[in-house]
């Protein structure tokens, strides 16, 4: 029998999970590059992206994170980047698989006010975390 680090849960329990913002960041290596890229992004020349991590207030703690990009429509979630320690199981207790779980979480995440939280976090020079 193999082991893993997933926290298993039936999909129908997801509605009861309360998600809290943990941390967010912009994917730049230094402030100067960030500033110049911000200017370029404003002129539509390139894009700015980052990451965000959220956790549940339950035990064991669930975590979900994803990457985001700034586009003309605002902050967009990169569906392929969703990462989580959660593994949803079906009514027989069988794993739905990491990809199916991630797809379900995209729907959950999109219902969160994550965009405003991320913007607030990346603009705060001293982010307080949760």
């Amino acid at each position: 029998m193999s082991f893993d680090c997933y926290v298993r849960m039936p999909a129908e329990w997801l509605t009861e999970v309360r998600w809290l913002h943990l941390q967010s960041g912009v994917d730049v290596d230094d402030a100067e590059v960030g500033a110049s890229r911000a200017c370029e992004a404003a002129c539509g020349l390139t894009s700015i992206g980052g990451y965000t991590e959220w956790v549940s207030d339950s035990a064991p703690t669930l975590s979900v994170g994803w990457d985001w990009n700034v586009t003309e429509h605002g902050l967009q979630l990169d569906h392929c980047s969703v990462r989580t320690n959660l593994m949803l199981v079906d009514r027989h207790g069988r794993d739905q698989g990491p990809s199916a779980t991630a797809r379900t979480l995209v729907g959950v995440v999109e219902a969160l006010s994550w965009r405003s939280m991320v913007l607030e976090a990346v603009q705060d020079p001293c982010p307080a975390g949760r």
Partner: protein, 237 residues
């Protein structure tokens, strides 16, 4: 360094056992969408049968089968790691010379995988493999996750190295004096004892003496083997 990289680095550095370190690596591999993960490391010497340490959460039956069949010597991802630092996706083409390995692995749920070799200046080579049953790894998904996967390979190497290096390298890198290193470097470049003596302003007898000491410290029978071993151990730079 980004926030998430620092967090992961701290976690790995705080781990004090192979189990805890591997658990950290596995947890991140799971988060990135891979049910299975393996991490292995090999020493540079001896060349013919270097010591290897491996850990994974692959099904126990598969691990047993892998060892019984001697797949380590034929696994194309392992062979790739010996000659390249670039990551590799599992595919039928990659396993063309060993299709039975791919078939058997798939029967245990190890169908789609990604592997990243890493090597350091002392010649230690590691291989991180992340695998799952389904679905295939799309180019878009890999593009999204490659940075995190490669960082995982880097911190896995650092984390396991601190725990495994003594076991893998035995007594550790031999302590060669500056003069011994000089003599060895010139010798590695093809210079004869007479040449080295002239270059360093020594007698040929002194050069030969230093070379004998080098061979003793490196545990080799001759200066050619000493040069190879020293190069693999990263001592000549």
């Amino acid at each position: 360094m980004k926030g998430w990289q620092l967090d992961q680095l701290r976690l790995i550095r705080a781990a004090t056992s192979t189990e805890d370190t591997f658990k950290s690596i596995l947890a991140e591999a799971n988060r990135l969408g891979f049910q299975y993960c393996s991490f292995g490391m090999k020493a540079p010497v001896p060349i013919v049968a270097p010591p290897v340490i491996w850990c994974s959460n692959y099904p126990a039956e598969w691990q047993k089968r892998y060892e019984e069949q001697g797949y380590l010597r034929r696994d194309p991802t392992v062979l790739h790691a010996m000659v390249s630092d670039s990551p590799v996706l599992w595919s039928d083409a990659l396993f063309a010379e060993c299709p039975e390995l791919r078939r058997e692995a798939a029967s245990f749920g190890l169908v789609h995988g990604w592997a990243q070799p890493r090597r350091d200046a002392q010649g230690m080579v590691s291989l991180l493999s992340c695998a799952r049953s389904d679905p295939p790894i799309s180019p878009e998904e890999l593009d999204s996750k490659i940075e995190r996967l490669q960082w995982l390979s880097y911190i896995g190497h650092e984390g396991m190295l601190k725990l495994w290096s003594t076991t893998l390298r035995g007594s550790g890198a031999p302590d060669l004096s500056q003069r011994q290193l000089e003599v060895l470097r010139w010798s590695s470049d093809g210079k004869t004892s007479a040449d080295v003596a002239q270059i360093l302003g020594l007698s040929e007898a002194t050069v030969n003496f230093h070379m004998r000491q080098v061979c003793l410290k490196l545990g080799t029978a001759n200066k050619t083997a000493a040069a190879v071993r020293a190069a693999l151990l990263g001592l000549l730079w």
